[in-house]
Symmetry: C2
Subunit: 367 residues, 2 copies
Amino acid sequence: MTNGPILLTPGPVQIPESVRAVMAQPIFHHRTPRFRELFERVTGKLKFVFRTQNPVYTLVGSGSAGMEAAVVNFHSPGDEVLVLDTGKFGSRFTELARVFGLCPRVIEVPWGEAVDPSQFEKALTQFPRVKSVFVQLCETSTAVLNDIRAIGEKVRRTDALLIVDAIAGLAADVLETDAWAVDAVIGGSQKALMLPPGLAFISVSPKAQARMRQSSLPRYYFDLQKYEKNLVSGDTPFTPGTMLVWAADEALDLILSEGLENVWARSRELGDFTRAELSAMGFRIFSKAPSSSLTAAVFPEGFDAKKFIRLLREQKNVTVAGGQGAMKNRMMRVAHMGSIGKEELQAGFQAMREILAGMEKSEQRVA
Amino acid sequence: MTNGPILLTPGPVQIPESVRAVMAQPIFHHRTPRFRELFERVTGKLKFVFRTQNPVYTLVGSGSAGMEAAVVNFHSPGDEVLVLDTGKFGSRFTELARVFGLCPRVIEVPWGEAVDPSQFEKALTQFPRVKSVFVQLCETSTAVLNDIRAIGEKVRRTDALLIVDAIAGLAADVLETDAWAVDAVIGGSQKALMLPPGLAFISVSPKAQARMRQSSLPRYYFDLQKYEKNLVSGDTPFTPGTMLVWAADEALDLILSEGLENVWARSRELGDFTRAELSAMGFRIFSKAPSSSLTAAVFPEGFDAKKFIRLLREQKNVTVAGGQGAMKNRMMRVAHMGSIGKEELQAGFQAMREILAGMEKSEQRVA
């Protein structure tokens, strides 16, 4: 069992040593053959992980920058769009759509549940003019995995685009961008891609490219047509995140050498293991459609969740995330994506058991 | 003389070893006291380098992200703005203003020259309704330093905001944000702050804050009011660039321990040295108002600039930047900001002399 820090938060996740080592190297200039070759290689590997033949653009920004890019590149003012809202990040799509003058129709799914494909089909019939459907692959606030394949089967028969936020799910949950007809997939560097935060990725299908050329929302930094034009020569329209692109070359190699299917299988197994361990400790598993990226575990009624998370970090050097929104101070979220192994998870659970035992003891003393 | 790579491009510049070492360390989560303390400390140091009491917000993005933030946060559709265009990045403000529905009035200054304060004053009288004045401290495409103090003296007497892109100049050219009444200063991580690209910074004066509350351009990722609200608790509205913020803590310490005035003086001396050396080699110094960040040097007529830059990189491991826009293939740009020392510059100039000699020889052979 390790005594070093164990980071179990759903982004950032632990960064492998070989990836970290890259970032300590001397930087080089991006308008050089060296960078262009690197960038082309990384873009190729990203396409592999995205399971797509579509171009994948790399932006310097947080994941939300990728979400905003998906809103402003494919729409015109007043466009009706359908948001499948399964949590905090689903709601972010609604906020973005409103801010940029779109007309969002929202299916609000109760937290902890996935989108019901038949309810979704009804909504598509009710709002036949929607230009896009927005949904999370894995909704990080609830650890819910949505059935993108089922949603894709409906959307592909319409003129609407299917836009999937896979920031948390990518390279942990199964995602078949092309086979499932996903028009735009948004990724982020700091989740299962095992990099620091700072890069957002977005893939664009031919259907989405055609839409992009007609859409009139103003955009500049997020204008994917600028990225498209530059990608031809291995360039970026703005200064790229050189060191993160370089680190991505290594991190993606780790995924490719393990094999993407193997990474998916490992994440699923670690998810099963995590849910079993946390259930045995007395937590309630929050998600009714669990993701392989992370697990959300609800504390027993009246339990001091905030204190538990703090003691776990301060006394055991194990960091998990708390709940968000209505689940704040009632839940913890434990990631099992990326390079994390069973041993480290076990060490984390052992630390949790010890903190739980200590808290129960001190509460008995008070009683 | 070193044989290692010498990076003399105006962003990225060389990153000190102690800064690079930070980025190889294990990452930690940002919603923790540890990150909040770090972020508050870094923000404090940034304010010191910006010479301001105003808040400085840190965005994940390239420098252009900071420029877009300055456009969308302080304006409403149709606003008249004045752009002082001294080069490629000046023109970027015009493009941004047009894309977001503003009405830019542009003073196009010939490349290589700085804004003429009396011409600027005339423009202010001619367009009394301009809501903002946009200008570069150092225009990276021409190595021109603008007289921000003189511009600030005029703008402060109006209702307009003075918005200065100091991405290239910050911590190399003298900039007194508060004393010169600059309402928004934009910085970037990959210039004299000696970090990899990936963070943009923006300071906001009380006058600009008041404008921000009235301006109606849509914004989300770049919405500084979200950053303002979060900064109170040491937080960021979106996942921060954790590793770059951490590295900034170290890089800013290097600046603070040398002393900002000393860094300014060193950059100015290295600039004088660079211009003398390049003049002696037969280059023409392009900028009539030279910046301490970089020097732009024009090749003799008919000289194969592209080949020179390539050979310098391939044979000597010394990287400089070429010209941009109309000066493409006619100019090189050599940075002397950040941690670069006189010895490395000297090694770079020696390499240039050798490449020049080789090229002249082979041309004579052809003749």
